[in-house]
């Protein structure tokens, strides 16, 4: 800035005076990291330990925060300095949070790729001992159970949210809001026990079926759907509702054509999250959906294998050829993530095509 504008005028230009050049944060960061590396090197040299990247990053980050705040304070003033400090802090928090998440994904992908082959997708575990085998039966089971859980909980969840936001008042609404929150706290294993007790009541002891798993999962899924949908519906500006009603549009049409589409992207995210939350559940399915090595397409009859149960079981009771079992467990986890990824893409596409074009 100082180079482009002659010195005497600079002090009078209110728009560019007292600003740090655009490259200054990066330069500061680089300098801070270099100092951090130097200090880490010194520590390593002094204690004989290995050079630590963690130490470098921590020292570098703290130095950067201090330096950029002080410099900005001196040149740009207090408000700008706070802004730069917060920007640094938020970015730092983001990067820090990425570390475990990235580590996790790398672990799953690296371990999962070992068995990510055609056989894994086309075989079940029937008559498989030791190496080989596949998870087709578990993929089908997971998809069916989760699909049925979604069929049960998405309409119930969305209509409940509509009731709460658009109609609900008085004690019933308060009770529902409160108890939906309570539902978020049902331990997954309790949901499984409840579903088992319910089905055992009608079909006798020892009942195992995919639909039971779906019922257990929907107990866990409904609160997430209700809460996220509710939040999203509340964020729809009231002006829209009033405008629609003022035009004489019936209330239900207003909700269906104006309110829901406006909140659609958020609702879809909420539902996807809810599906994501339950698709990896192990404990309830262990109890009610059961365990099998065979294919089963019928959710209403017979045991049904699911991916998380499969992964858990492979990890917990491996045979002598441990590695084959662990590889299958990791590969099953990878597939689970991929399934959610595909669901996510589908959901985004739906949101994209049906949501009104918004400003962003």
């Amino acid at each position: 800035m100082t180079t482009t504008i002659s010195a005497p005028r600079q002090a009078q230009n209110p728009l560019t005076a007292g600003q740090l050049p655009r490259w200054s944060p990066w330069a500061t960061l680089l300098a801070a990291l270099l100092v951090g590396a130097a200090v880490a090197g010194l520590i390593a040299g002094a204690s004989g330990a290995q050079f630590s990247i963690v130490t470098t990053a921590v020292i570098g980050f703290v130095l950067y925060l201090v330096a950029i705040t002080v410099v900005s304070q001196l040149i740009e003033g207090g408000r700008k300095a706070t802004d730069r400090f917060v920007t640094g802090l938020v970015t730092g928090a983001f990067l820090l949070a990425l570390i475990p998440l990235v580590s996790l994904v790398v672990t799953v992908v690296a371990n999962g790729l070992a068995r990510f082959d055609l056989e894994f997708f086309t075989y079940s575990m029937r008559n498989v001992v030791g190496e080989g085998g596949g998870v087709l039966h578990a993929i089908v089971g997971t998809l069916l159970v989760t699909l049925w859980a979604a069929i049960i909980s998405v309409p119930v969840g969305i209509f409940t949210a509509i009731y709460l936001v658009e109609y609900g008042k008085g004690k019933l609404a308060k009770a529902i809001t409160f108890f939906v929150d309570v539902m978020t706290g049902i331990p997954s294993i309790v949901a499984g026990l409840f579903a088992y007790a319910l089905f055992a009541l009608f079909f006798g002891e020892g009942v195992r079926s995919g639909i039971g798993g779906a019922v257990a999962l929907s107990l866990l899924m409904i609160p997430t759907v209700v809460r996220s949908t509710e939040e999203m519906l509340k964020l729809v500006p009231n002006d829209l509702r009033e405008a629609s009603l003022a035009l004489g549009v019936p209330k239900w049409l207003t909700i269906a054509k104006v309110v829901l589409p406006t909140a659609l992207a958020g609702i879809v995210t909420g539902v996807t999250l809810a599906v994501a939350r339950v698709i990896g559940e192990t404990a309830p399915l262990l109890i009610i959906a059961g365990f099998t090595t065979n294919m089963n397409y019928n959710v209403f009859d017979g045991r049904m294998m699911t991916l998380p149960v499969f992964a858990y079981n492979q990890y917990v009771s491996p045979g002598v050829q441990e590695q084959a079992y662990f590889d299958r467990a990791w590969a099953a986890a990878l597939i689970l993530i991929l399934i959610v990824m595909i669901l996510n893409i589908v959901a985004r596409l739906i949101a994209h095509f049906f949501a009104p074009k918004a400003g962003r």
Partner: protein
């Protein structure tokens, strides 16, 4: 969020049409259905738990003495997890919505959603295989150098599978959930408010503090509660990672760690029989009650903090 939105619309409602009535009835039924389901769960829990709560237990302990260390562990681990996860989640959501370049932001948002789907078993595997060995030297260092702080009093665990490790795993698990919802909520901040504050000369942080955060407050709390619900009820990951001993202690780096209710149920249930089953389900009921309390408190906070009516 008891603002005037529903009231305003009902006042303006047109004469009753059949479709309207049906739609309302369907919505109400859905809500009532949830109540019925929950009542079912509650009846089931209570009926199963009563023998343990009133009856004599095998080793003459009272039910409450038995369930207390578990309750403590549940609250303590969830608290540690939330202390780490909530600020992080808000920071990530802010970064994605207001700091990152837009193209990067959508990819990041997508990636975060996916992470919510990793099954807890896998978090458990990762906790054992990667996190615990990684943290163990740090715990040893903390116990050695900061041992005078009660949290880090020695001796440190030899395997790193402490309650802090479990809490970190929990934090990593709930992070995507809170982040995803916060992001969606921050994106819903009225554009005009943001632009107005920027036009008035606010810095980006001031804009966030004055426009984005107040608008999203109820959403932040709501999403945190969802996260907390998961942290409290998380079963498999904790059961696998935590080296539990059932002690009541605030030490986060030692080998004597409290267990959690959900993890304990998962660990004991397969081999449980007789009164033990009732005891375990009774502890499930306690967990249920804790969530009830937590939610009541959070509702109360939301009611207190949204007097200004952000929208």
């Amino acid at each position: 969020m008891t603002t005037a939105a529903p009231a305003a619309t009902t006042r303006a409602s047109a004469p009753n049409r059949p479709a309207d009535v049906i739609f309302k009835a369907v919505s109400t039924t859905a809500g009532v259905l949830i109540l019925i389901a929950l009542a079912g769960v509650a009846i089931f829990l209570v009926a199963q738990a009563v023998p343990a709560i009133i009856g004599p237990l095998p080793d003459d302990d009272s039910f409450w003495a038995w369930v207390w260390p578990l309750t403590f562990g549940t609250l303590w681990s969830a608290f540690l997890a939330m202390v780490m996860a909530v600020p992080m989640a808000i920071a990530i959501a802010l970064f994605i919505t207001h700091f990152a370049p837009r193209r990067l932001a959508s990819i990041l948002g997508y990636a975060i959603d996916l992470l919510a789907a990793i099954p807890s078993v896998i978090y458990g595997l990762w906790g054992i295989a990667v996190l615990a060995p990684f943290m163990q030297p740090a715990y040893a260092w903390l116990a050695e150098n900061l041992g005078w702080i009660p949290l880090f009093s020695p001796p440190a665990s030899g395997t790193g599978r402490t309650i802090l490790t479990a809490a970190i795993v929990l934090a990593v698990m709930v992070l995507p959930i809170i982040t995803a919802l916060c992001r969606e909520i921050f994106l819903q901040t009225p554009r005009l408010n943001e632009e107005a504050s920027l036009a008035l000369g606010a810095t980006r942080w001031e804009m966030i503090r004055m426009a984005v955060l107040p608008h999203g407050r109820s959403g932040i709390i709501a999403s945190s509660i969802l996260g907390l619900g998961r942290a409290l009820g998380e079963t498999m990951a904790v059961a696998m990672v935590l080296a539990s001993a059932g002690a009541v202690t605030f030490v986060v780096v030692g080998s004597q760690n409290p267990s959690t209710i959900a993890a304990n149920i998962a660990l004991r249930f397969p081999e449980a029989h007789g009164i033990t089953v009732n005891m375990l389900i009774g502890s499930g009921l306690v967990l249920f009650a804790i969530t009830l309390l937590v939610n009541a408190i959070s509702r109360w906070i939301i009611a207190k903090t949204t007097v200004d009516g952000g929208r």
